[in-house]
């Protein structure tokens, strides 16, 4: 027993909160879970605020009593003082009739008490338990594993997780990595298969999930206490677009000792399906939509004959699309002054769409190929308990939006058709305030995130998101997150209205929360709970970069060799270099992309086949001509 409930007329106990007092040295603090024992009733609560005061009537009495000398004054007695704790009720037993908290003894909660207090007993036991450990509650020398309900974390009851915290403590990324570890190890088999797709949006944060990290003995103890094996994500696959040269990967994960990062290369069709992403708010109108639809339905990937010009087009790449546009503009120019309409589409609309599509082709040259060769995520063959990381950190923001929109849309399509390979997919997006801001224009990505957060749980499409400032994220996106996690927050953020429900003491604790500790809100928990979690068992981005520094950008031929060597370690570099010597860059890139996409058994042979027959350049002898006549009378000759 650590204290007793106190209630007065001015500060009575209610069904939802009560006060208790303890000895000065009681091991209880903000976030501690306690149990109130009273005959016939048991109440669980979490400490939300703390007060201490003495019998001093006014501060002036202290001055008077000490003759104005706070240092030298003799004061043989310590004033009586109280340690008073305000506590929010977590659960009553029995639940009905709901009554005010009785004046009972207060005890620190044990493991079993924590399970009951947080209603974890309803989903961690039974024939089909759905509890997933998420951290350890610790107070007063007691520790208890905290489980969240998979039905409420990953659907279908509720879903999505949002984490907020200041940058620089690595808490957000570490927490997500740890959560994925626990989900992969403890997600109930009866709920189906699950995978995670993470967008790496900055630095090397998520690039070494398949490498073991350094753990302390305390970390291992926490893993053991939670029943989790500390191991990295062995089946992680990495995807990144090329740089503009089409052969060097636009990623920091390029060290040869690592499992190779796979190129992410899309063509015109992949871009055109998500052309709306490329259009800003002013661009989006019925005319633009109609023309994009026309391109997608009638032109791209089909044989299209223009009635006006009589020409037939086969548009499969940006280059061919450019030719198509050029022909339209030529036709309109030839028609003379006043010709502005082509097949009901105004030339200004056509020019706008051409510019936008051309823009992505230029600004994201490594992502968008001009020749139609595509290398994509393994749609339909996602593996159970596997992580897929798409590294978009080096991409232009517009291209990041495109990647994000297309991948999430494809996930949705496959989950709707139940042919993704898994029944649940966790999508992790960092910097959510950038993709779904509270203010600013209504972008396609924000609309899509709203849709995902509001309807994704029915499909098994779950959003794990992170940001520094929750207040700057669209309210419906964070509001739909069934589980909210908070790391250390700065005072400015805590002063925003969204944190108004937290007591000043909880805010103070959040402002000073150490690394490795979090506050969590979950549908089963009626109050936020503080918990700690071990360091993730994977290499952090900073350590990873030190241990596996990225390759320096290598010359074109060498880069081609390395990309092919990722498919076949036995590739002879000199032979490849000989093969590509004298070939145009476009030809080599096209052959390389085709080889990567097809993953043939005989990489060299396939590459050679894609390169095609070499047309040797003919050495042309300089024209001999006729020797000039030498003028004998010219003194300067």
């Amino acid at each position: 027993m650590i204290g007793r409930v106190v209630a007065t007329e001015m500060k009575p106990s209610t069904p939802h909160q009560f006060l208790f007092w303890t000895a000065r040295d009681a091991q209880v603090g903000i976030g501690s879970i306690v149990r109130v024992e009273s005959p016939g009733r048991r109440v669980y609560g979490v400490v939300t605020d703390a007060f201490a005061y003495s019998d001093l009537a006014t501060p002036m009495d202290a001055v008077y009593g000490s003759d104005g000398d706070p240092v030298g004054a003799v004061e043989p007695s310590h004033r009586s003082e109280i340690r008073l704790f305000q506590t929010a009720v977590l659960r009553h037993e029995p639940e009905e009739p709901l009554q005010a908290v009785p004046l009972g003894e207060v005890h620190l909660a044990s493991d079993a008490d924590v399970a009951v207090a947080l209603r974890m007993d309803t989903y961690t036991t039974g024939e089909k338990p759905t509890g997933v450990p998420i951290g350890l509650y610790a107070a007063g020398g007691l520790e208890a594993p905290i489980f969240v309900d998979a039905d409420f974390l990953l659907g279908p009851e509720a879903a999505h997780l949002n984490i907020t915290g200041v940058s620089g403590l690595a808490t957000k990324t570490s927490a997500i990595e740890f959560f994925l570890t626990t989900i992969f190890q403890r997600f109930p088999v009866h709920k189906g298969r699950i995978a995670a797709l993470c967008f790496n949006v900055k630095g090397p944060d998520l690039l070494f999930l398949d490498q073991p990290g350094t753990l302390t003995a305390e970390d291992r103890r926490l893993y053991d206490r939670l029943g989790i094996e500390p191991r990295p994500f062995t089946g992680a696959r990495y995807f990144a677009p090329f740089k503009a040269d089409g052969v060097n990967l636009n990623s920091l994960r390029t060290h040869p000792d690592l499992n190779p990062t796979e190129p992410l290369v899309w063509g015109l069709r992949e871009v055109l399906d998500y052309a709306e992403v490329l259009l800003n708010r002013d661009d989006v109108d019925a005319k633009a939509d109609a023309f994009i639809d026309f391109l997608a339905e009638r032109v791209v990937g089909k044989e299209f004959t223009d009635d006006h010009t009589g020409k037939t087009f086969t548009v499969r790449s940006f280059a061919e699309l450019e030719g198509f546009f050029r022909a339209i503009f030529d036709y309109l120019e030839n028609m003379g002054r006043g010709a502005e309409i082509w097949r009901t589409h105004h030339v200004a609309t056509i020019r706008k769409i051409r510019n936008r599509l051309g823009n992505i082709s230029t600004r994201s040259k490594g992502l968008v190929t001009d020749d139609g060769e595509v290398n994509d995520l393994p749609w339909g063959t996602f593996q159970d308990r596997s992580v897929y990381v798409v590294d978009v950190a080096g991409l232009d923001p517009l291209a990041q939006d495109l990647v994000f929109a297309r991948i999430v849309s494809k996930l949705r399509e496959h989950l709707e058709r139940r042919d993704l390979g898994v029944e649940h997919i966790v999508v992790f997006v960092d910097e959510l305030n950038k993709y779904a801001p509270q203010d600013g224009q209504d972008t396609y990505v924000r609309k899509m995130l709203l849709d995902l957060s509001e309807r994704g749980r029915y499909l098994g499409l779950v959003l794990f998101s992170a940001q520094q400032f929750r207040s700057q994220v669209h309210k419906r996106v964070v509001g739909n997150a069934g589980t909210s996690v908070f790391g250390r927050l700065d005072a400015d953020e805590l002063s925003t209205p969204g944190y108004g429900i937290l007591s000043p003491a909880i805010k103070a604790k959040l402002a000073a929360l150490p690394k490795g500790e979090l506050m969590i809100r979950h549908p089963h928990f009626t109050q936020p709970i503080f918990l700690k979690f071990p360091r993730p068992a994977v290499l952090s981005g900073r350590e990873g970069i030190e241990r596996f520094p990225p390759e320096v950008e290598v010359p074109f031929e060498e880069a081609v060799v390395r990309r092919l060597r990722a498919l076949d370690k036995g590739i002879q570099g000199n032979r490849i270099k000989d093969l590509v010597a004298g070939r145009t860059t476009d030809d080599v890139v096209r052959a390389l992309h085709a080889t990567i996409r097809n993953r043939p058994d005989d990489v060299t042979a396939f590459f050679i086949k894609c390169l095609g027959r070499e047309v040797r350049t003919r050495t042309v002898a300089p024209r001999a001509g006729v020797a000039p006549l030498k003028a004998l009378d010219d003194p300067y000759a």
């Binding site: 019998d55 001093l56 009537a57 006014t58 009495d61 202290a62 008077y64 009593g65 000490s66 004054a73 003799v74 004061e75 043989p76 007695s77 310590h78 004033r79 009586s80």
Partner: protein, 309 residues
């Protein structure tokens, strides 16, 4: 059971008797303790004339120090005919201070029902939890006089309880013990060199004439010569006046206490030492109690403890 419930219960029990008119309030005329105001010139032990001695400023007692006090709660619970029946809860405790913190080391409580002997006798068996304490048989049949008499009896009961608690404490501890009130009314402290009585009451003043003026205008941080009070009832003691706070701007009694110690301990040096300890006990201030200028914090801590129960 809280004192409030205890009083409620006895009212309910007595109310079952048709002769009892239940009462819940004390008549204003008899709220508080009756006092006799008088002058009782004392015999000087130190100095030929009443002198004023500086005690050298506050010095905290380095040893553990205990504080003894008692409380009483009195309520009229009913009348039988015109005779009041008074219930009282008296309590006393010793709180020992070690390292600045208090711990209650002895405590006793007693519930008493005071009334005319014939009334108490007729009510026997109708109430429980209260010990009957009869008023003197010659009590006049005036209800307010009876109430005053009840107050006196309850005071005596409280003093008795204080002595009992002090005795119990002394069986286990030889710590310095500050007693709220006089030592001279009890034989318990007669030979106790480590007991210090601190009287806040000035109903009986130890001097008259010029000495009284000198006594009442004692400067802050000073004591009078040691004297033997003329009012001792059980055991002779040694005493001196001590001004804890300046009286200027207040009244002559502000901050004035009378200290008592056993005869054997009463040397001038001991009087200075004890006075300097008591000066140190001014802090922390015992406000918001209105007697804060004379009420030592340790004594207030005992009172608060007893009243809270």
């Amino acid at each position: 059971m809280s004192s409030r419930l205890l009083f409620q219960r006895v009212r309910k029990e007595l109310g079952r008797d048709a002769r009892v008119v239940v009462a819940t309030a004390m008549p204003p005329a008899v709220e508080g303790r009756p006092d006799d105001y008088r002058l009782a010139p004392s015999k000087l032990i130190e100095d030929d004339h009443l002198e004023i001695h500086a005690v050298g400023g506050p010095r905290a007692c380095a040893e553990p120090m205990a504080f003894l006090d008692g409380t009483q709660r009195i309520e009229v619970v009913g009348y039988v005919e015109a005779t009041p029946v008074v219930a009282a809860l008296v309590a006393a405790a010793v709180r020992l201070r070690v390292g600045g913190h208090f711990a209650t080391v002895a405590r006793q409580q007693r519930a008493v029902l005071v009334g005319r002997p014939d009334v108490l006798e007729s009510l026997a068996g109708t109430y429980s939890g209260f010990d009957p304490v009869p008023l003197p048989a010659d009590d006049v049949l005036h209800p307010l006089k009876s109430l005053e008499g009840a107050h006196r009896l309850i005071d005596i009961e409280r003093s008795r309880l204080e002595r009992d608690v002090g005795r119990v404490f002394r069986q286990t501890s030889d710590a310095w013990l500050v007693v709220d009130g006089v030592l001279a009314d009890s034989g318990v402290w007669q030979d106790d060199a480590r007991a210090i009585g601190v009287s806040k009451s000035h109903a009986t003043l130890p001097f008259g004439g010029a000495d009284l003026e000198r006594y009442l205008t004692l400067p802050s941080g000073h004591r009078t010569s040691v004297f033997e009070p003329a009012t001792w009832r059980i055991a002779p003691v040694r005493s001196w006046g001590l001004r804890l706070w300046p009286h200027e701007g207040h009244d002559l009694f502000h901050g004035l206490v009378r200290v008592e110690v056993a005869v054997a301990a009463a040397t001038p040096a001991h009087a200075d030492l004890v006075s300097s300890w008591l000066l140190a006990e001014r802090a922390p201030l015992s406000r918001p109690d209105v007697r804060w200028d004379r009420l030592l914090y340790g004594v207030a801590a005992v009172e608060r403890h007893l009243r809270a129960r």
